[in-house]
């Protein structure tokens, strides 16, 4: 499966650069590293996705099973930009603690901030997210904040100085696709910082539809990790993100509730 056949002139020269916190990124697809059946499959899927940024979680070293290796044994930090998350945190205090630990690993000042409000939906606690964002921005972090599709919260996060705002397409790990295209478009139209849709994309058409709303990128994990063939799905997502982006930039034709012929109506035989 060649990964070169997709790029080149078509996608890159017809698009504007994707810049987050001053860093120009070559891919609008950001991928997670969780839940893969094997590390080998994860590495091949991330390669097929063409991702530059990959997210990682901060967890205790398992002292009883020392052969359980950290992710750095499998992903080269020279090749991938590792973005630590605060997944699993339910308070601002915990999220700040995990963000600091992630930064101490020495890769960057970036953090994917998420403060979860509820175990069933994994929806964000937006008040706690804002509280943590304020603290982390003041500490010099580049905060990419996971949030819901609420426009006001997105505006507040941007005001707080977040480097990017990341509204969900649908709940984390649900694969339900883009539930609220209108609100995602509204967030994108109101914010100046990058808008990256995070969570809920299930398959390639979801990714394309999401990008067609005009957002700057997509972050996904489960859609790849839980696909029957993560490597093929990763390539599909890469194509879909590019396709959706190009379709957005191209501008779609108007929707009509009536058919309009594509061939001339004149010149017909008697």
């Amino acid at each position: 499966m060649s990964s070169q056949m997709l790029e080149g002139a078509s996608a890159t020269s017809l698009d504007s650069p994707f810049v987050v916190a001053g860093r120009t990124l070559r891919s609008r697809l950001i991928v997670g590293t969780g839940k893969y059946r094997s590390n080998d499959e994860m590495v091949r899927a991330i390669d097929a996705a063409g991702a530059e940024i990959v997210t990682v979680a901060v967890r205790r070293v398992d002292l009883d099973r020392t052969k359980e290796e950290g992710i750095l044994h499998h992903l080269d930090p020279e090749r991938y930009f590792l973005l630590p998350n605060t997944a699993g945190c339910y308070t601002a205090e915990d999220a700040i603690r995990y963000a600091r630990l992630g930064r101490a690993a020495g890769m960057s000042d970036w953090v994917k901030l998420e403060v979860i409000g509820d175990q069933r939906t994994l929806l964000p606690d937006v008040a706690a997210t804002l509280e943590a964002a304020n603290v982390l921005v003041a500490e010099g972090f580049q905060v990419l904040a996971y949030t819901n599709e609420d426009v006001i919260t997105a505006l507040r996060l941007e005001d707080a100085g977040c480097a990017a705002v990341m509204p969900l397409a649908s709940p984390i790990g649900s694969g339900l696709g883009l539930v609220s295209p209108y609100f995602i478009r509204e967030i994108k139209s109101r914010l100046s910082c990058p808008v990256i849709v995070d969570a809920g994309v299930g398959t390639a058409s979801d990714a394309a539809v999401t990008m067609e709303q005009g957002v700057d990128g997509i972050l996904m994990n489960t859609a790849l990790a839980e696909a029957k063939d993560p490597v093929r799905m990763a390539l599909a997502m890469r194509l879909a993100v590019q396709a959706g982006r190009l379709a957005f930039l191209a501008g779609r034709m108007p929707r009509r509730e009536v058919a309009v012929p594509s061939s001339p109506v004149t010149g017909m035989l008697d």
């Binding site: 969780g34 901060v58 070293v61 998350n85 690993a105 489960t222």
Partner: protein, 67 residues
Amino acid sequence: MMTVTVNGESRDVPPGTTVSTLLTSLGLHPRLIVVEYNREILDRTSFDATEVREGDNLELVHFVGGG
């Protein structure tokens, strides 16, 4: 021996144990580990010089797969 808490579990370590020697005894590579020492992040350059003491609480964390 002294008792310290490492990742939530009590462990007995000999006097004079430093963070570096503790990591080594656990088979961990210091470069890949972040140490939170009594709730404060410990700079990697201090691992050699930091002797653990009775009752200390250490969290040893690293990056794992996540979304």
